[in-house]
Symmetry: C2
Subunit: 134 residues, 2 copies
């Protein structure tokens, strides 16, 4: 449960925080701050966008969420699940998850480096959009 999960990660489970994390867990949507804010403000009319930013920064520091920076002009957020990459469709802009065993790839060049985080982003066209083109 989200409440306990926050406590376990040393984050006070305040109302807004629970709502933001629940949002990220429910909609596996890779949302922007604007999307999070616009959806949540319906339920939480006094919510401010700054709070969404603050909350996400807190979650980032605690490694509960991670940034998705496929595009240089849109920052998206995702719950932090290991061994999954992201595919962004150039047509419909949808972001798909896919499992990838990136830890299984050899990178002996980096043997002296301390690796803390790995990101894999693909771009292209999704099956749905490929079909529409034919």
């Amino acid at each position: 449960m989200v409440h306990e999960y926050l406590v376990k990660n040393n984050i006070k489970p305040l109302y807004n925080r629970v709502k933001v994390l629940e949002y990220l867990l429910d909609k596996q949507n890779h949302p922007t701050v604007d999307e999070i804010y616009n959806d949540l403000v319906k339920e939480l009319p006094t919510l401010s966008k700054t709070t969404v930013y603050n909350t996400l920064k807190l979650f980032l520091q605690a490694n509960l969420v991670r940034l998705i920076t496929i595009e240089d002009n849109e920052t998206r957020y995702d719950v932090n699940i290991p061994n999954h990459g992201h595919f962004k469709c150039e047509e419909c802009k949808e972001i798909y998850d896919f499992t990838i065993d990136i830890d299984g790839v050899e990178t002996e060049e980096l043997s002296q480096f301390k690796i803390k985080e790995k990101s894999v982003y693909y771009k292209g066209i999704c099956p749905g959009c490929l079909n529409k083109k034919n």
Copy 2:
């Protein structure tokens, strides 16, 4: 030679364009627009930042360069070389290239997807910064 390389890619080899591409090829630096501009303006005093943006956009469309979006607040550029990933050191902020055979990784989940571009970003601490810490 840069001049011919541009011609071959259907890009008029105008003076600024040659300079920007040479800059990217010489300094394997993964520079920001600001860094490119600030360095080149020494040689090209009338250069404008808009031109740097325009030129890079052109190169992107022609697939001569690619975006590096490791951080959400800094867009960097790199000459487009296949099968290499980027490691960014959290301490010194340096971005290191490393070779990675990402095409060798199985992703049968994406068998119906048309993949056009793959990016791999790691974060952590580089050997130099690890040493300083001890």
